[in-house]
């Protein structure tokens, strides 16, 4: 197996193993203030969905922040067959615009926790302790500067425009 094939295989295995995927649908100018990778990196390291039972095998979360929402991007969707949950939560555009980096992170934290609350609105194929999931995520967010290490990593990338 070539080095490239090994890299592909490792990356695929990593993607399959990841239970939490976080992305965004935002106006371009809000990046990198809104950088979902910071949340994704930390939560993937610290949260295992399987410990809350197997009602949700993959959790896809999207931060939505646009000045003009001509298309509907927020909402929740659950696949009973795959046990995948997709949820998108809107953050008010004006609030993000006025916020500094730390305040933006707090707005994203709030949106993420709202997304977890939305799990209760869906009838899952199997049990899932979303309250315990929320509690553990809240504990991570409660740690001061929980995001600092990953934020530093992205700030060091000149192409991102921090």
């Amino acid at each position: 197996m070539t080095a490239k094939e090994q890299l592909i295989k490792a990356q695929q295995a990593s993607e399959e193993a990841h239970q939490i995927h976080i992305s965004c649908r935002i106006a371009e100018r809000l990046f990198p203030k809104i950088n979902p990778a910071i949340f994704s990196d930390v939560l993937r390291r610290k949260i295992k969905l399987s410990q809350y039972d197997n009602g949700i095998l993959k959790f896809y979360f999207t931060f939505v922040a646009m000045e003009n929402m001509v298309l509907k991007f927020d909402g929740i969707y659950y696949s009973r067959k795959k046990r995948h949950l997709e949820v998108a939560v809107r953050i008010p555009f004006e609030e993000i615009l006025a916020a500094n980096q730390t305040e933006t992170i707090h707005l994203m934290e709030k949106a993420f926790l709202e997304g977890i609350d939305l799990i209760a609105t869906k009838k899952l194929a199997a049990p899932f302790d979303h309250q315990a999931f929320k509690k553990d995520v809240e504990a991570i967010f409660a740690q001061e500067n929980w995001y600092e290490e990953d934020l530093k990593k992205y700030r060091a990338m000149p192409s991102l425009g921090y």
Binding site: I8, H21, S23, L71, K72, G75, E86, M157, S159
Partner: protein
């Protein structure tokens, strides 16, 4: 006996012919009826004056589709983290390409109200961010998209690569 059999056979044939004439005649009558009275398909109806018009549901559908044409957005999908991504514009059997964080994977236009269906909106490719770049009519958005796709080879990230791509990795076609 033979004579009776012969009579039965003739009567039977005559009876059958009569039945077919009745069916044929009835069919002709039905055909004339439908020619005189048009069948109104679903989606059309008659108003109080007897004119054919769109049904309320069909009118609503038309209005919605017109609105979708007028309200579209052009977007870009960029790599959320460094790694390998599918490459549809690569040549020589290369199926993947390494992208750094923030590099373009695909330009696109959307006019449908998908309900934040990540990863569906990302075409099943994980670790992508969606940035809204332009809002306008569908025609305007398609032009923006096309210009960006054609100018992709001149982006610094594209020029820095060992291989030259004619369009972004996630764009199979020029639009």
């Amino acid at each position: 006996m033979v004579k009776n059999k012969s009579n039965y056979s003739t009567q039977n044939t005559t009876h059958k012919k009569r039945t077919w004439y009745i069916i044929l005649g009835g069919g002709i009558v039905v055909a004339f009826f439908f020619m005189a009275h048009k069948i109104i398909p679903l989606g059309l109806e008659k108003d109080k004056d007897g004119n054919i018009t769109l049904s309320p549901n069909r009118q609503t559908k038309l209005n919605k589709e017109l609105e979708e044409i007028d309200n579209a957005e052009q977007y870009v999908l960029v790599a959320q983290r460094s790694g390998l991504y599918p490459c549809y514009s690569c040549t020589n059997e290369q199926k993947t390409i390494y992208l750094n964080v923030g590099e373009v994977w695909k330009y696109g236009v959307t006019r449908k109200g998908l309900q934040g269906r990540y990863p569906r909106e990302n075409f099943g490719v994980p670790d992508l961010n969606y940035f809204q770049q332009f809002i306008g009519t569908y025609s305007e958005c398609l032009k923006k998209e096309k210009i960006k796709i054609y100018n992709y080879p001149f982006l610094p990230e594209a020029l820095a690569r060992d291989i030259l791509l004619i369009r972004p990795p996630g764009n199979k076609y020029d639009s």
